[in-house]
Amino acid sequence: MSTSAAALETRGLCKSFGALPVASDIDFRLEQGARHALIGPNGAGKTTFVNLVTGALPPSAGRIYLGGEDVTALPQARRVKRGLARTFQINTLFRGLSVLENVALAIGERMGVAGDLMRPAGSRSGVIERAFAALERLGIAEDAGRLVRELPYGRQRLVEIAVALGLEPKVLLLDEPAAGVPGAENGTIVETIESLPAEIAVLIIEHDMDLVFRLARRITVLVQGSVLVEGTPAEIGADPRVREVYLGEREHR
């Protein structure tokens, strides 16, 4: 083991649904402050990997470490408390609540005040102000009062990121952050990701190769639940196996 612990690490991570293996023996390291992409064809097990890491799914075998600490047995909420946040491939927000409250709920949880039964939520001005500041940073403050379901999809993707950032994560998992977003708004999301604080270790799960090569400094290729290869964008771009299973497939479309 290296001297400094990885922000996130998995060793021998396995998951099967019945007889179907969807993650087999995944060894993965996300360094501190990394900009790392996880790519692979449809059904490669990328989202399953995210669900294993966050604790939404229990692994069949293997260990998960956050900042060097074994969190394999911890429930989802406790991993979040240790600095692990995620966004979802399909918007998973409080659609009937305002944008501001979506972020405020996350901030309330992080600050440990969300279980308070007696004080009015509105009197927690620290929470609301922080939530608003988070929206300002992402440039969506003018939508603060609108219900999430009234926003265009691309804007909702930004709220996804705002909610995750409200948790002040050390490790941020972005599951296809630009999925379903029309090209024009795509740029806003890329810029948002580029401007994330350098100390956050970011793992981007993505289909869009332009986005991956623009954002990532390391790339891991997942195929049929196993790591095929890991390397810099240049190495991955030149790797014939990757071209075959992934880039090749893209050219057929």
């Binding site: 998973t92 709920l105 969300a114 279980g115 308070d116 007696m118 608003f132 948790l167």
Partner: protein, 332 residues
């Protein structure tokens, strides 16, 4: 902070949601007026108030927490029998009886909640129903304690605060129920506007996201379930004390269904659905049953179909739509 006008409004709305509005006094004004206007109907009035409390407790978990239950009468009955058994065995003081009933029903809520709240949706609905049905059968079998299908006899309740005897006209019962309902409303109102209450709403809106922001979802749901169970127990105890009797009907699945209908009629997830639905339901039941016993089930069936098909938000939902429509007309 460089908030624009719209954003400031959003912040203000979130920060000030818990403040009392004048309209919120309306139910209490009506309840007190009804005491003076309809002195002959106070026993029915007390039952309406008790139903409001029962429905209010359901609103906390169903309307805010999104916990779909068809077994809330289990807690109503546990509270009712607790108060009844205390009254039948020499503990006739009503207020401590009420608190004891709430505590026992709450404890029953913790125990059953730990099991049923691990599930969701239809499974949850079936499990809550099963708890209710099993408890009903248990009360039936344990007839030496509960009086079985004859109900519990010999319940004695002392005057409230040693001053106000439960009279035949229902005056004491009405005011006592009103006072308890008021305190419960203050409590529930506080809870739904608290960070805890907002996180319950979050759970209703999207469980996956609540897990992802690090919320202890089971603990939150269990806490709400327990509070609602205790309040339902208090409602059941009120009915026992007001009528000095408790029967198996207090535990029946019919009652669980009835309170659900009350909340659907009034509108759930808005604190005041219980206050609208309960009088509507119970007064209609009283009037229609007086005309002909078969009218009531027919009417409630037709009303439910109308609400489900035309007005998902219940009566209060219709009011919202109407107000929004009038506002739009006011600003051409």
């Amino acid at each position: 902070m460089t908030a624009t006008a719209g954003a400031e409004q959003a912040i203000g709305r979130l920060a000030g949601r818990h403040r009392l509005r004048p309209l919120e006094a309306l139910p209490w004004v009506i309840a007190i007026a009804a005491y003076f206007l309809f002195p002959d109907y106070l026993p029915l009035g007390a039952q309406v108030l008790i139903m409001v409390l029962f429905a209010l407790s359901l609103d906390l978990i169903l309307g805010y927490g999104g916990i779909i239950t068809l077994g809330q009468a289990a807690f109503f009955g546990v509270g009712g029998y607790t108060a009844g058994l205390l009254g039948a065995h020499g503990w006739s003081e009503p207020i401590t009886g009420l608190l004891a009933a709430g505590a026992v029903a709450g404890a029953f809520g913790v125990v059953t909640g730990l099991i049923v709240l691990r599930t969701e949706k239809l499974t949850l609905l079936m499990l809550t129903l099963m708890v209710n049905v099993m408890l009903y059968e248990a009360a039936n079998k344990a007839s030496t304690i509960t009086g079985g299908s004859d109900g519990l006899q010999g319940v004695v309740i002392s005057p409230v605060l040693g001053l106000f005897r439960f009279d035949i006209f229902g005056r004491t019962a009405y005011l006592y129920a009103l006072a308890v309902l008021f305190l419960a409303w203050l409590l529930v109102r506080r809870i739904v506007h608290s960070p805890f209450g907002r996180s319950l709403t979050g759970i209703r809106e999207n469980v996956a996201r609540m897990h992802a922001i690090g919320s202890p979802v089971l603990l939150r749901r269990l806490t709400a379930y327990t509070i609602a169970a205790a309040l339902s127990g208090v409602a059941g105890a009120l009915l026992t004390q007001a009528t000095q009797f408790v029967g198996q009907e207090s535990l029946s699945v019919d009652r669980s269904g009835g309170v659900l209908i009350v909340l659907i009629l009034g509108g759930f997830g808005r604190l005041y659905g219980a206050f609208v639905g309960a009088p509507l339901y119970m007064i209609a039941q009283d009037r229609l049953s007086a005309l002909d016993p078969s009218y009531w089930p027919l009417a409630i069936g037709a009303l439910l179909i109308a609400v489900v098909m035309l007005a998902r938000g219940g009566v209060l939902g219709i009011c919202d739509t109407l107000i929004a429509w009038l506002r739009r007309r006011g600003r051409p």
